[in-house]
Symmetry: C2
Subunit: 423 residues, 2 copies
């Protein structure tokens, strides 16, 4: 594991003996379990960690005292976590209160930590989870209970501040680009005009939809790409689609679910509003709505496709680079904590070494990463706001390299089956 020179853990090792808890939180990804494995495996092999517990459904499991003894798991099944999508320990979307207003949850966590002699807490998640992690860290500091707290990033949305990219993004990007390539092949097959709208995840940041540009670069991608970073203009959109439709017959559009008008109103929100100014039937989602509008404008056959949660759980199409980096993120969290560090999130720093990509680990203050969103730079999107530029491709390309070594059995993936022995 390469680490940046910016990490200085001090001249004396600070040994702290005790148990650790590893929790997973927020929306799952194809590789969040690779990070869990990195943390669990390393913790099991670290002398000062006396017990390795997995929290059932993240912080909820801690609050409820529902902990799994990870030392009881079959090592071969644990190893399968590297390739198993979704959060094997279970996830939650529990928002912790501000401890200054209501410290009940934190008192309860402290109680559990004391009961099980927990001295290490690793929390694997996105923005909200880093906020949770930060609050727990500060509370433990304030209460004088020695416990090292480390955040392990994860989010397909790639919107965490301070890290070059997030574990989970590379695999989602690879799946989206692959799927856009395949759908583009399919959508261009007939000798009749046809418009296809692909709806891609991302409420506030367009990183996922931008990945469709990798398909364009590979020669089989969408004609138009819309991200929430640029206010969406319905008239310009219809004009863009019509122009390509009139020229080529086939049009393929990729759009973030979070595109919105200049007043910040989601375009998909309008779809379920009774005051829909377009006079169209109410529809479920963005793709269906845009498809309906361009159908009216062109008369062409249209198809709306929502990639839905497949884009965050397609382990069979995960990026080997992402799997490896995710594992390293979990591993680094445990190693640095064992060496005395706390109150940090593991981050990635991109190093271009004679043109070759390398990903170094760096530690970021939890305080700084919590609740700050990173968006796609405006300069990476074309002026018209309907395409993605070269700097994004250079950014994203290294992250999707390599195919998963996910083992297959009887023609289907083999995913981990944990025993989940409750403590």
């Amino acid at each position: 594991m390469s680490t940046t020179s910016t990490i200085n853990i001090g001249s004396t090792m600070n040994t702290l003996k005790g148990a650790c808890i590893i929790g997973q939180s927020g929306g799952p990804t194809a590789v969040i379990n690779a990070s869990a494995l990195g943390a669990i495996r390393t913790a099991l092999d670290t002398d000062c960690v006396t017990k390795v517990y997995g929290a059932a459904h993240g912080i909820r499991g801690v609050l409820d005292g529902k902990l799994y003894d990870m030392g009881e798991e079959d090592p071969a099944q644990l190893e399968l976590l590297r390739y198993t999508p979704s959060s094997a320990l279970g996830s939650c979307r529990y928002k912790m209160k501000d401890p200054d207003i209501d410290a009940t949850d934190y008192q309860r966590i402290l109680e559990i930590f004391k009961k099980y002699d927990v001295r290490y807490f690793f929390y694997n998640g996105g923005n909200d989870s880093m906020d949770t992690c930060n609050k727990i860290s500060k509370f433990m500091q304030g209460s004088g209970y020695e416990c090292r707290v480390m955040g392990i990033p994860k989010t397909v949305d790639n919107d965490l501040f301070g890290t070059d990219h997030c574990p989970g993004y590379g695999s989602a990007a690879k799946y989206i680009a692959t799927t856009c390539m395949e759908a583009s092949q399919d959508a261009r097959v007939y000798d009749v005009p046809m418009i296809t709208i692909l709806e891609i995840m991302g409420r506030h940041a367009g990183w996922l939809a931008a990945a469709s540009a990798l398909a364009v670069e590979a020669g089989h991608g969408p004609d138009l790409i819309y991200l929430p970073e640029v206010a969406f203009d319905m008239d310009a959109f219809v004009r863009d689609v019509k122009a390509i439709h009139d020229r080529n017959g086939k049009v393929i559009v990729a759009a973030s679910e979070g595109i919105h008008d200049q007043n910040g109103r989601f375009i998909s929100e309008a779809a379920t509003s009774a005051t829909d100014g377009f006079g169209h039937a109410q529809l479920g989602g963005l793709a269906a709505r845009l498809a309906d509008i361009v159908k009216g404008a062109t008369g062409a056959k249209v198809r709306g496709i929502e990639l839905s949660l497949l884009q965050r759980c397609a382990a069979h199409c995960a990026s080997a680079t992402d799997i490896e980096e995710s594992y390293r993120a979990g591993e680094a969290a445990v190693r640095f904590a064992a060496e005395g560090l706390t109150d940090k999130m593991v981050g990635f720093k991109r190093v271009m070494d004679n043109g070759a990509y390398r990903c170094d680990i760096e530690l970021l203050d939890l305080e700084k990463v919590a609740n700050t969103e990173k968006k796609v730079p405006r300069a990476w999107i074309n002026e018209e706001g309907n395409g993605i530029l070269q700097p994004y491709l250079e950014y994203a390309r290294p992250l999707i390299q390599g195919e998963t070594a996910l083992p297959f059995k009887n023609g289907l993936p083999q995913f981990a089956r944990l025993k989940k022995v409750m403590v």
Copy 2:
């Protein structure tokens, strides 16, 4: 290539020199190009075939005289057809008239055949395409123009009569099972009740939705599976979902888009009808509609997911068995035609050899396969009509074996790029 002993091509070789046309028709699959490659490669290597033409957009290309010279293609790009989804030559959904009523199209085809000295015609498609193929074959026979006509099956729907299974089905089934496994992992991740509805292709036959049972067998699949082979009872459905919801919190449902009530009315059709008896908002598709109904019945969080055309074009998740068999189907069509056979469709015959699956080629009369649909046997579906039984699993398992050798470049699939040199 193994062939059944039922094929007897006569004692004398019947050499016929001339050009051939290969056309692709109907909805594309992940492996239809593997069949095209099998036919093109074999035709290029067959002495009596003087020229190998590809029809642009199936029979439309023949009618319009739009033919590609396949001999002009780079062999390496041709080879990539084995792993390239969708119809590389273009497809169409053109329904030929009955020649007894209007023979214009047939006269035109004969004209083109004569012009280019076409003596072999290979048509790769599903039910409708086999009908086209059959009509052309009979017309050529009636007109006294010697031309050997062979159908090559293809359909993700797996509903072609007379063949054990169809090229394209195994890959779609593998993708659906894999995706159901991954989505099931994801849909069970939170500590709150959640109902997920997966909408799978299949208007009249439930072969594709049945593939979700392979995921159940692998340990991570839907709780309930509904096919069009059994009339759908909304009350029973809601009862089934509620029972599992009350027991487990999480419910995952897989349903064919073509499920219908006992009067044959599509459930999805009701979704866009003003007389919707359920009083719910109008929705786009079946998944959204069922999700809406169970949300009302349980109050749980729900999610509708339409696998959409990804299930028929996901070459990155194709079955190696399907790729190989599809190639062999194309190869066999050309070999048997060169040996004197005509007016047939290539079919697959399953042979279980000491428990081991083997797929033999057999030839079927075009007349018999055209326009006959094969459905999932009722005995393979449980009595309640909400689950799939062992015989289906035994049928489907061999078809999804093996992973594609699709080459990747820069982290993404490499698909064929044909020159398409027009004749």
